[in-house]
């Protein structure tokens, strides 16, 4: 088994409109893959389709050699930060503990062992000091790191992340990069929706260029080309794609 996740002819429709068309792509084990594309390209939808959050109109998804239903315990998820209400009455530690619910069953509550694990996860993202804070007190970057800690708590093999780098500060950015690198070192696979074209090369080794269909996919070295970016963004982002190709030639310039 070489592929962490594979999409076989996946189509997704909202009402009558196709938002993803016959997606065929796969991500090799222990790689870090960026899903890149313009707004409305279906990046988040692709992740949600893999998780079963939106129904597939056609096709199937293979996860770690099985179906998502069989492999859920090995899949971690970092949703978009805006997807929850940060005024919710809950502490930072309690959010992280949610990552353990998958192995606890319906009635059992997290105990001392889970609390210790959750503190370790918070330490990894540099938030151990804020464990007892109410989540409404967090900054955007801290919220993002809480979600990452919760995903770490899931102890997964494959991590699906929806814009983990969106709207964050420099501290958070380096904290997240460290955690992701450590995960990859352990053999975990990371698939992340990513907006910032200029950082694709330094952070990811695989890329999936998406605009309702797969425009290009594979290693960053072969698939992340100026030409492919032009086709993905339909020529609308000429400046950015130049920046990306510059990145390739002079990586120090970024």
């Amino acid at each position: 088994m070489q592929e962490a996740i594979a999409f076989h002819g996946v189509s997704v429709a909202y009402r009558d409109e196709l938002v993803l068309e016959r997606i065929d792509a796969s991500v090799p084990m222990a790689s870090m893959c960026a899903i890149v594309g313009p707004n409305g390209a279906g990046k988040s939808t692709l992740i949600k389709a893999a998780l079963g959050l939106v129904p597939l109109a056609a096709g199937s998804v293979t996860v770690l050699g099985g179906t998502m239903a069989q492999r859920r315990a090995q899949v971690g998820y970092v949703p978009q930060r805006e997807s929850v209400d940060w005024e919710f009455p809950i502490s930072v530690l309690e959010v992280v503990l949610m990552g353990s619910y998958g192995r606890l069953g319906l009635l059992r509550r997290p105990g001392r062992a889970e609390r210790t694990q959750a503190m370790e996860c918070l330490e990894q993202v540099g938030l151990a000091a804020l464990a007892d804070r109410q989540i409404s007190e967090l900054s955007g970057g801290q919220q993002q790191r809480v979600f990452l800690a919760r995903a770490l708590m899931q102890r997964a093999q494959l991590y699906l992340m929806d814009e983990p780098f969106a709207g964050i500060d420099a501290v958070t950015e380096s904290a997240i990069m460290q955690v992701l690198a450590a995960l990859q070192e352990r053999g975990c696979t990371i698939v992340a929706v990513h907006h910032d074209l200029s950082t694709v090369r330094e952070r990811f080794d695989q890329v999936l260029l998406l605009n309702k269909r797969v425009v290009a996919a594979g290693s960053v070295a072969t698939a992340f080309t100026a030409d492919a970016l032009q086709r993905t963004y339909g020529g609308r982002l000429a400046v950015l794609s130049e920046a990306a190709s510059d990145c390739g030639s002079t990586s120090a310039g970024c």
Partner: protein, 312 residues
């Protein structure tokens, strides 16, 4: 006054049971209401309550037995039917959720009023006591009925406490719950059934029109005081219980309004008014987000401003 003391010291055993059951019901409603509010389903209880009126009437027509249990079963069935109708309409059309809810509430309630008029025109219909279901009449409740309500409340509280970690996850981050393979749809359905159960169990004491208040006001008040789901459930339950006890007590001991025919103050409004008072109090004096503390902070900032302004 002596009567109030006698009541509050719970010397009268039937009053004791009635008060206990109303308090138990308020606790259950406050806890389920907290979850419903966090899940943004606060008004589902109102729809169920209004749909219960035709349910009670239909049960009256259909069953020969007109005990409270049978009437409430009718209310429960129609309550579920109302929720199913709303869900179906939303799935099949583009109708907005608030519009669907409003239509369901008024539609089912209109049907209920028509049916209850038909019952009142029948022989024996006046004694059906349907008016009591509109505004509640706990102070005069029968002991066996009180035990029924208490049993339902106990069951609901037990389910909420047993599954509170799953409900918490469902309310906070449904997508994450689905991703982890939690039985989200069944939990969502169960939450709606719990809302329907407490709503229907609240009809005899608080009545169709006001029962939603028990689901909404204590949680809203508790929200001011709590930073975690556990404390929100506990505070909401306490506020609900206190409101129920004071409200039931007042309706039992206050002298009836002058010229009143048949009975004194209805219990429902008394409970709801007490809860509303506690809500306003919470808004004002709550520690972090209270109106008073916010005003005080603003005052402090303004007082500090001139010195900052002079440097600029």
């Amino acid at each position: 006054m002596a009567e109030l003391l006698r009541l509050l010291s719970l010397q009268d055993s039937s009053t004791r049971v009635v008060m206990l059951s109303t308090a138990g019901l308020a606790i259950a409603a406050s806890m389920v209401g907290s979850l419903a509010m966090l899940r943004r389903r606060a008004l589902v209880g109102d729809a169920v309550a209004h749909a219960s009126l035709p349910g009670i009437c239909l049960a009256w027509f259909v069953a020969g037995d007109r005990s409270l249990a049978v009437l409430l079963l009718g209310a429960f069935v129609l309550g579920l039917a109302c929720m199913a109708t709303m869900a179906l309409v939303q799935r099949l059309t583009n109708a907005r959720e608030d519009a669907t809810t409003a239509i369901a509430i008024s539609g089912f309630f209109g049907l209920g009023i028509v049916l209850s008029r038909m019952i009142q025109n029948q022989p024996g219909g006046n004694r059906a006591g349907l008016d009591g279901f509109l505004f509640g009449k706990a102070a005069s409740a029968v002991t066996s009925d009180a035990w029924l309500v208490l049993a339902v409340a106990g069951l609901v509280v037990a389910i909420v406490l047993a599954l509170r970690k799953e409900f918490g996850l469902l309310c906070f981050d449904r997508d994450f719950a689905v991703g982890m393979g939690r039985p989200v749809q069944r939990l969502d359905g169960l939450l709606l059934v719990l809302v329907a159960l407490v709503t229907v169990a609240g009809l005899p004491s608080v009545g169709v029109v006001l029962v939603v208040a028990l689901l909404v006001i204590p949680p809203a008040a508790a929200r001011c005081w709590s930073a975690s789901l556990g404390s929100m459930l506990a505070v909401a339950a306490a506020i609900g219980a206190v409101s129920a006890i004071i409200g039931t007590g007042l309706s039992a001991v206050l002298p009836p309004p002058s010229g009143a025919v048949g009975g004194g103050w209805p219990t429902g409004p008394m409970i709801v008014l007490t809860a509303a008072l506690l809500f306003v109090l919470s808004l004002l004096v709550a520690p972090e987000r209270g109106v008073l503390i916010t005003m005080w902070r603003r005052h402090r900032r303004r007082a500090a401003e001139p010195s900052m302004g002079s440097t600029g």
